[in-house]
Point group: C2
Chain length 540, copies 2
């Protein structure tokens, strides 16, 4: 049943038909919002997150059909199976157990006859011990000085999640340690960081599952040569987060400590594993990291155990599919009204677009509907002064507005126009979804707002580690729920392979030219040859 074409499902056909009805002028959001019970009927709270979907172009019938779709596609059953260790990443024959990395339950999770909770807890304890010793000064660099700079070398899934959480929880970073992210192979990234650190007090955290990622290895090379050039012993300034027995877990190349990551954790879902655990525990302390894990765990349990009508990430996933496949929106904005959440959109951009940017089902057939969306965003109110002109009067795209009820920095209470900065922020957070939904008639076309532009509003109480964990888990669960409904595998990423293969060929050409100055690029196609010649000539 789950391998049937999506468009052949009766409920999919019903939704298509229903969408025609929702396109009628009387179903404009300005009319739907006249119902005084609209917010009550189309909002929910769970795991300390409030989710308001009253400004989406849905009515009760829409939601009933969407819940029927979720049931037909066994979305929650698949989620349950995922958290129990079933090999839901079928194309790579792996489990997907990011939820286990934040589980504090004493239950076992068995994969290939092994209780993976044992190794998971062991890594967590190792992180705790290591971070505590760094903070106490028991572990130092090669000259005996305390570490003051963490440079995280890693790219993609080894980077974006940690960056999001580190930014969000900056106010908790009171260990006299700064964090830097060296992701891009571009030498400007390395060069800029070098000007900001002090080699003696720098700890490099290298994160790579295979320890072969080209960009990461190139940056490890630069960092090693740099530290040696400063007369420092790299083995006292590096830790690795990598798979067992990878080249980064080789006693022949000693490091301060190695933390394992496991094949049931995909990069983009790895923030709660050692990938996020090591840098974040060093930056904000292990206790805060554990609070963050516990928030994520709570949302996992919510996603696992709530009925569809109360299941926040499932509702978010269903509305996203409705917007995408039935109303035709191709992009989604994520606009947090909180500067510390400025890296949420780049994280979800990877999480969602790499997971769901697929054209085939998990069983290898062509998908008969479009999956995936373009995700982008900047914090509000900045975004209002940037691209919201298009949001209000140009091509429409659904938006997740995110609000934080209580700000940090409560000491700055000066008022302008009678309100504090936080209140001004909220005046905008409240008004934008309303303006987008309701619009405004004006005889002058240039001042006419068509309205009917959908958005969610998501609230958290404050920027505590636990709430950031909840938010992270919410977006992870929403992403996999969408994949389960489409019937795609959100845990593989074959689409990034072709570029890597071609880059290897070109790297080999460059390497050959580095070794033999008279090597020419004539055997390449004319465009490749042109770019290689330009690189070596240094001139346009």
């Amino acid at each position: 049943m789950n391998n049937q074409k999506l468009t052949k499902f009766p409920v999919w056909k019903k939704l298509t038909h229903h969408a025609d009805m929702m396109h009628q002028p009387e179903m404009h959001l300005k009319n739907l919002l006249k119902d005084n019970k609209r917010l009550n009927n189309f909002s929910n709270k769970g795991s300390n997150i409030f989710f308001d979907y009253s400004r989406h172009r849905v009515n009760k019938m829409t939601m009933d059909l969407l819940f029927e779709l979720a049931e037909n596609r066994k979305a929650i059953e698949l989620f349950n199976a995922m958290t129990k260790g079933e090999k839901v990443n079928n194309t790579e024959n792996r489990a997907a157990l990011h939820t286990a990395t934040r589980s504090f339950s004493s239950d076992s999770i068995i994969v290939d006859d092994i209780n993976i909770m044992l190794e998971t807890r062991e890594v967590r304890n190792k992180i705790k011990t290591f971070a505590t010793k760094v903070h106490s000064g028991e572990i130092t660099g090669s000259t005996g000085k305390r570490f003051k700079h963490i440079v995280v070398i890693g790219i993609g899934g080894s980077y974006l999640g940690s960056e999001f959480v580190a930014h969000s929880l900056k106010a908790n970073a009171d260990r006299n340690i700064k964090i830097h992210f060296l992701a891009n192979v571009d030498i400007h990234n390395f060069g800029a960081i070098i000007t900001e650190i002090e080699p003696e007090t720098t700890l490099w955290v290298v994160i790579s599952k295979t320890y072969t990622t080209a960009e990461t290895m190139a940056n490890v090379k630069q960092a090693t040569v740099f530290m040696e050039g400063k007369g420092l012993d790299p083995s006292k300034h590096f830790v690795t987060v990598t798979s067992k027995n990878s080249p980064g877990d080789d006693p022949a190349s000693p490091v301060l400590e190695t933390f394992h990551m496991f094949d049931y954790i995909g990069g983009r879902y790895s923030v709660t594993s050692a990938v996020g655990g090591v840098p974040l525990s060093l930056y904000i302390g292990y206790e805060n990291f554990e609070e963050f894990l516990k928030g994520a765990e709570e949302m996992d349990l919510h996603a696992n155990n709530s009925p569809p009508e109360q299941n926040l990430p499932l509702i978010a996933a269903l509305i996203s599919i409705w917007n995408n496949n039935f109303l035709g929106y191709q992009a989604q904005g994520i606009i947090p009204y909180a500067t510390p959440l400025s890296k949420l959109a780049p994280h979800v951009q990877q999480l969602y677009m790499e997971s769901n940017g697929k054209s085939v089902t998990k069983t290898g057939e062509e998908l008969d509907v479009s999956s995936g969306l373009i995700i982008f965003g900047e914090p509000g109110t900045n975004a209002q002064h940037s691209f919201f002109q298009l949001a209000h009067q140009g091509r429409s795209f659904p938006i997740d507005f995110i609000g934080v009820v209580n700000p940090q920095y409560k000491e700055y209470k000066s008022k302008s126009k009678g309100v504090t900065n936080h209140q001004e922020l909220w005046a905008n957070l409240i008004s934008q979804p309303s303006a987008l939904a309701i619009g405004k008639d004006d005889p002058k076309k240039a001042k006419y707002f068509s309205g009917n532009r959908p958005s969610s509003t998501i609230l958290i109480e404050d920027l505590s580690p636990a709430n950031i964990g909840r938010l992270l888990s919410f977006y992870e669960a929403r992403t996999v729920f969408e994949a389960f409904i489409w019937g795609i595998n959100p845990f593989d990423q074959f689409g990034v392979e072709l570029g890597k293969v071609l880059a290897t060929d070109i790297r080999n050409e460059i390497s050959e030219k580095n070794n033999k100055n008279n090597h020419n690029f004539d055997k390449n196609d004319p465009i490749t040859k042109f770019y290689l010649d330009t690189l070596f000539s240094g001139k346009l």
Copy 2:
């Protein structure tokens, strides 16, 4: 003729018909790219920028029709008129003279009987004098210490362009001055900056055309109270960039210096005016700022004087319209393979989406085609490890790849896999457009790459101030060329007004509650009331 519906133009109909042909399998990019002259025929160099459009889904016929469209719509004539001071911003009855701010020509530009070049040059000289005196220590803060921190208070167009240029030219910032951007009204933005500055050595640069922008005024209030709290005289620590006679140009509120901006400069086009000039001259020195201006001027002259077939920003605009209106792409990625250009995408996101996110023509009729695109992006290779899965195998979107031939930090030459970091970066820059265009057959659907995914590659020789100026002007000119072809006004932004009006109502409600604790929100709609109650209760 220019007011006729676009779809009624014979050339528009021809393009629609031609697009059907370009959708045929034999027109797949893998076939078009078999032509050895493809790069020669579909690339150009101008103003030291190389623009390769060989990987777009175009042939000679496409380009001929597009050039005919540009001629029909008088794109270059309108650009010429714009640079001469004609009131192309017709809905606000203003000229659009960002090009004048970087003109070093001795020619006059007359607007309303005034030669605006006089005031433009005067402001430039004032910036030069002021920055020089700050750098020499002649102008200091109220305690006599040299300035070491610039905090730019401004949002949207008073912020994003300067941030892009400051990031790009960080290597030129050798004046012992750090720059910070206080844009968001969110108190977290202010709170975080306060922890990074030293009040005595901080110069606040307040940028607001009207000096009434709610966010900016709220941050000015916080900054003023903060400085007074430190016993410092704000009038010795603030400068303003604002319109003549605005509240920021009032002798009753003295500041160190006031720099004027003029009504013929829109926010998103203002980087080369005092808006960018003051903070950037303080950060990188006036000489570097002037080099930046001269690069922008050179590209302006290229856009003004080149025939269509050699006019880079016009070709980029035409291809964007082709992709958007004829091939159906709704978004565009901007992927610079250079970390210092990481703020280019957010800048162009505003520039383009606020300019062209419109639904009406400049004469007030409904536009009969879709204008505007969603612009987003992150640096490569980071983006490859983030959302490129979707780019290769999901929904397709055109991409601008941007390469820099010569990097800074040439001292870091260590090789990994036989190549330097910069060479590894280029191996990827070369391979990605090719992988996207050509694709790969594979009997396994999960490993099949459909290809035919379009991109441009844009090269600059290095990250010099002049090249950053060229790149800025290139994207500005491309943006206005698209608007001129669609017949919309890229200089107004009525779409941001409704949200401001609603925010004012809500701000007034909050202010009233601040003054009278027993004020209730019952007169508001139930959703607004809920959010206001939540804000004041501090609880979910």
